[in-house]
């Protein structure tokens, strides 16, 4: 949040891309996009595109890292070099390592890892086009890909961010709002029991504003939950599964 709050981000009550404050960008979800993977999904929100591929459960190598009580979850988030306006140096950065870690922390609670002792579950997410909200898009894609892989889960994980732009709380920031806004609160929720498994924030918010942002995120996640389930049902039908 490099923003000073001076940039005009709301004009005549509308955001620069014409959205209302509580509106998300157009979303499309497609499951089963990578035939080689055990499960996969492409999650698009506005211009941000994340593709997740899941491999496993498979044997954990090296063997000394095997856990006889549960599976090891490995999550790798990659921002592709061409995904940003200025070329992004390929390879893991401090940023991508942190995001991989918080993604793993966001997804673990939902997966019944105890079902797969000694195994490893790999989740790879490529952000191929970035227009803010890449970690939340990556989590949504990963969650659907895990379900597509048939991995036993307690619930899906839905993720979205709310932020502050020109002193107002808005849902799903896009790039100019992320650059010039006054705060960004990405969260992930397992909707069934409203478990919050990811929360990060940078910027400045009063407690009241924080509550408002939480409400918006919860609303966004509810909508996402429906879309995620729909995408999964569609995929199973395509594969000839019973309804």
């Amino acid at each position: 949040m490099a923003g000073s709050g001076n940039e005009k981000l709301i004009v005549n009550g509308k955001r620069l891309d014409g959205r209302k404050l509580n509106e998300m960008r157009p979303i499309s979800i497609k499951s089963g996009v990578i035939p080689s993977a055990d499960g996969s999904a492409e999650f698009k929100i506005g211009d941000t595109i994340a593709i997740a591929g899941v491999y496993g459960p498979r044997k954990m190598h090296p063997r000394r890292l095997q856990d006889s009580t549960k599976a090891y979850l490995n999550v790798i988030y990659t921002m592709d070099s061409f995904a940003t306006t200025e070329r992004n140096r390929p390879g893991p950065s401090r940023r991508s390592k942190e995001i991989s870690m918080v993604m793993k922390n966001a997804l673990s609670e939902a997966i019944i890892l105890e079902k797969y002792p000694n195994a490893k579950i790999d989740v790879f997410v490529e952000v191929i086009n970035a227009n803010a909200g890449t970690r939340t898009a990556a989590i949504n894609a990963a969650s659907i890909a895990l379900a597509d892989a048939g991995i036993e889960m307690k619930d899906l994980v839905t993720s979205i961010a709310a932020g502050k732009i020109n002193g107002k709380i808005a849902l799903d920031l896009f790039q100019p709002e992320d650059n010039f806004g006054e705060g960004d609160l990405p969260i992930a929720i397992m909707p069934r029991n409203e478990k919050i498994t990811l929360m990060q924030f940078d910027g400045n918010l009063t407690k009241k504003e924080f509550k408002e942002a939480m409400e918006l995120c919860k609303k966004g996640c509810k909508e996402l939950y429906k879309m995620q389930k729909k995408a999964i049902v569609k995929r199973f039908k395509e594969q000839g599964g019973a309804e």
Partner: protein, 265 residues
Amino acid sequence: MEKEYTALRKHIEELLKKNIRIDGRKKDEIREIKIETDYISAANGSARIRIGETEVIVGVKLDVGEPFPDSGEEGTLIVSAEMTPIADYEFEPGPPREDAIELSRVVDRAIRESKFLDTKKLCIKKDEKVWMVFIDAVILNNDGNLFDACQLGAVTALRTALFPKYDKKEDKVNHKEKTKNKIALNDKVTPIMTTFAKIGNEIILDPTKEEETVADAEMHIAIANGEICAIQKSKEGFFKEEEIYNIIDSAIKLEKEKLKIIKKN
């Protein structure tokens, strides 16, 4: 290992039911904080922080360099944290692991987002020369809650930091000679981080290493002047909405208490 963990977790949980911690504290009690400043004469600013038995040393180094292309009028801030093997039998030598990266990035966020450090006043010549502020934290002993210790160390070290002599004509920094000029800080928005750990359904303040080992999730919250400036949920567990609101209230309350400790130094 698994057995040890289960036994420790059970023990801690049973104590918590009686509102007792493994070290005798109450759930909402923080450990004693000790601050020594100007500990490192070679650094421009420094602080040695003790939170119970957790010990961290933070040094601030100032140098002149180029600004980032998208913020040519601002000095740069670079925070790093080293989990050196001296501090914990589980820490390994080598490049920072993901937990050390997370630690330094969250401390960075708290300092940056609060606007405590006035980076605009670190500009020497627009788009060409700015002061670079390096904050390096070295963990000397890990007994949990490294986030609060490193963040407090960063803030107190910045408060004591003095510029080295800089020759504009020659474009040279004389690191041997310190001036009496302090870094421009916005005292009003001093960021204060507080860490909470969740074990089962209990939430505790300022966790020790043993408590962190068995914790399901942690929440690190930085408050500046009563407002939230940074949050990071860590570990694999979850929080409920109400728990987060209580955590925020508690962090806002503690901000003032901790500020008093800082201002004594």
